[in-house]
């Protein structure tokens, strides 16, 4: 077994373990942290595939930005764990059966018989000065420009949807306009009422 295979098996095992923990731990903060671990280990596997740029992006974007934001959300929301976990034990046996069938199917169908090392020739390693960032850049804005633009529209729709669903205008906004405050004159605020002095009886 070569060095690459050892690295692959170790990190795959960690990845599967972390993915399992994401859905089974009680505390959502731990679940988010295990998700970070899962992203990180898959980034390592991508590096083994010589997809360095994608691996770095995964760590930077998902671990660095998305998951940190996600952790904030999880920690700030008041999540009732009892409600979330209700029915977990009840559905566990069914879940196991489905998962087992899926695993058997996948091993039979996407196993070594179809995609084994002897079936698919391994790609020749690239030279050290090969930049896959540059290669990605070459096709992203040329061959794949149409899907790329559609992806940007999807993000735009996500922004619109998120704002449309969460923005609530206050009926009486507590907003102070400095301009109006400065312009205030004595007559606007103060009313002098002339009245007769009351005489003591």
């Amino acid at each position: 077994m070569g060095f690459e295979q050892i690295v692959f098996y170790i990190f795959s095992a960690i990845l599967v373990f972390a993915a399992g923990m994401v859905i089974s731990v009680r505390n959502p903060v731990f679940a988010a942290l295990f998700l970070v671990l899962a992203f990180f280990t898959s980034a390592v596997i991508w590096i083994l595939l010589e997809a360095e740029f994608l691996a770095l992006t995964l760590v930077l974007v998902y671990v660095g930005a998305v998951m940190v934001l996600f952790l904030f959300v999880v920690m700030m929301l008041d999540i009732n764990l009892a409600v979330l976990k209700r029915g977990f034990r009840r559905y566990l046996p069914v879940g196991f059966v489905v998962a087992f069938i899926m695993i058997v199917q996948l091993v039979l169908i996407v196993g070594p018989e179809q995609f084994g090392l002897d079936k698919v020739e391994s790609p020749t390693p690239r030279a050290a000065d090969y930049s896959n960032t540059e290669e990605l850049g070459r096709v992203l804005y040329t061959v794949y420009v149409y899907p790329f633009e559609i992806a940007s529209v999807i993000l735009l729709v996500a922004i619109i949807a998120a704002i449309a669903l969460t923005l609530r205008k206050r009926k009486h906004p507590r907003f102070m306009s400095p301009e109006q405050q400065i312009k205030v004159r004595r007559e606007d605020r103060l009313r002098i009422v002339k009245m007769k002095s009351e005489t003591k009886l």
Binding site: I109, Y146, I160
Partner: protein, 482 residues
């Protein structure tokens, strides 16, 4: 590496819709609430101009651009025109309903237009990646539209269900596509189909991978269409969503879903027709059976129409599974007819609803003839058409798909289809009975805008007129499938 500038001409309608949707999004911010009708008119104008562009660019030849990720052929042009038309009708019908419920906002129209863009991308997709992205764009708009009525518990619940189930379906579709990519090593649909044929991959060790990929793709499609056994979401979402949104979800996306089947199963996996035919036969029988039988037990017209949709999807699949050119054009004809009927049916629900009253119970239709004879006649035509009674268009739609499967010697399946459609007649006729032979429970006058009445009348009369002269629409569908 040399790079050839892509030809933008075929994609001008998409580019136009995108620019206008962005423009309306920004322009809407400067429109005050009482002048919101400007946004509405701009959206309608966008659809009209897009239709004119598509008609101008129309040609029967097939054009590929953007490195083969985009295709413009006769089918895509026809489907796009119907997408504009039906969406415009949806916008007209929903105006009154939305303004009575404080939902008459720019977001409805902006999301509606982005949904149109997603459907156009699906219709013109020639690459697994583009198909998936178009589908996601459409689905995202639909999830947001369902949730737009934030104060309604039903709408929020429906949106949540729709989002979770839709995400699972997208995941399955994507996994299926990745397996297919693993076999053929390409995402381009024509290249994919050529690789399968050239290397004879339907036999041999990759046949199982191909089959699993195909099954997952079919599951994804069936979810989006609402075919049994992947139909669970349809009644709940149709019921929970505001009727104006149900109108949109229930009608236009089916045109895009038809294109999805054509691109993925027929053009991409055409070589595996014998395998997916069996799967579609089972789904078609279950959809027709369950849809028609469960619809009888419904007391809510939105749920009833949802089950009716499921049964119509079964009929649509009949045309596809025939696997002939005739069958595909029959299925396309059925899809177009279905959208015209459904938009009319839900339009009727919108017509009878008013502020604080949804008109979604079957009992609300009692004695409609006494309240408004004209509306009752329009509803009568629509119900007869959905049931498939001649001389309405619904009859020809059912007739053409059944003819297509008889021509491929699936006579037993045709018999089952006829039996289920006879069972289905019951619940459509029940509405007619309620309208004409029962006393009205509610005698308040029907309020609606004159433009809505006009379009709804035209819609119902079109169902009748197309039924008497079905030739032109049928010819369009035959010409569109090459």
């Amino acid at each position: 590496m040399s790079f050839e500038m892509p030809d933008f001409t075929p994609a001008i309608p998409e580019i136009f819709i995108l620019c206008m949707a962005c423009f309306i999004l920004v322009a809407d911010l400067f429109v005050s609430d009482d002048k919101r009708v400007i946004t509405y008119l701009m959206s309608l104008a966008t659809l009209v101009v897009a239709a004119m562009i598509t008609i101008n660019l129309h040609s029967t030849e097939t054009v590929y651009t953007f490195s083969g990720t985009y295709v413009k052929d006769a089918m895509s042009d026809v489907l796009k025109l119907f997408i504009y038309l039906i969406t415009a009708v949806v916008f007209v019908y929903s105006r009154g309903y939305l303004s009575e419920r404080n939902l008459f906002k720019g977001e409805f129209y902006v999301l509606g237009l982005f949904g149109v863009l997603g459907m156009m991308i699906m219709v013109s997709a020639h690459n697994f990646l583009t198909i998936y992205l178009g589908l996601e764009l459409l689905s995202l708009c639909l999830y947001a539209l369902v949730a737009l009525q934030r104060d309604s518990i039903f709408a929020s619940e429906a949106a949540m269900k729709y989002f979770v189930l839709g995400a699972i379906a997208s995941g399955l579709l994507l996994y299926g596509m990745s397996l297919l990519y693993g076999v053929a090593g390409t995402l381009d649909i024509t290249t994919f189909s050529n690789v399968i044929t050239a290397n004879n991959l339907t036999g041999g060790e990759y046949s199982t991978v191909l089959a699993l990929g195909m099954v997952m793709v079919i599951v994804g499609i069936a979810f989006k269409l609402g075919a049994v056994p992947f139909h669970m979401w349809v009644p709940d979402i149709y019921h929970g969503a505001p009727t104006a949104v149900t109108l949109y979800i229930g009608s236009v996306p089916k045109l895009a879903a038809f294109a999805l089947i054509m691109r993925l199963l027929v053009e991409g996996l055409g070589e595996l027709h014998a395998q997916w035919q069996d799967i579609l036969i089972i789904m078609a029988i279950l959809s027709m059976g369950l849809g028609n039988i469960v619809a009888i037990a419904q007391a809510n017209i939105k749920r009833m129409l949802a089950y009716s949709t499921i049964s119509h999807v079964g009929f649509l699949l009949l045309g596809i599974l025939a696997g002939t050119k005739e069958g595909y054009s029959a299925a396309m004809f059925y899809t177009i007819v279905y959208t015209i009927m459904t938009v009319g049916g839900f339009g009727m629900v919108l017509l009878l609803s008013r502020a604080g009253f949804e008109a979604d119970k079957l009992d609300d239709y009692k004695g409609l003839n006494e309240r408004s004879p004209w509306s009752a006649i329009m509803m009568l035509i629509l119900m007869f058409s959905m049931a498939g009674v001649p001389p309405t268009i619904g009859f020809y739609a059912k007739f053409s798909v059944i003819e297509a499967i008889i021509n491929v010697d699936l006579i037993w399946l045709a018999a089952i289809a006829v039996i289920f459609s006879v069972i289905g007649v019951f619940y459509y006729i029940r509405i007619i009975k309620l309208m004409y032979f029962d006393k009205p429970l509610d005698t308040s006058p029907i309020t609606s805008t004159p433009d809505m009445r006009l379009i709804l009348s035209l819609n119902s009369l079109a169902v009748l007129a197309l039924g008497i002269f079905p030739g032109s629409l049928l010819a369009v569908c035959v010409a569109a499938i090459t």
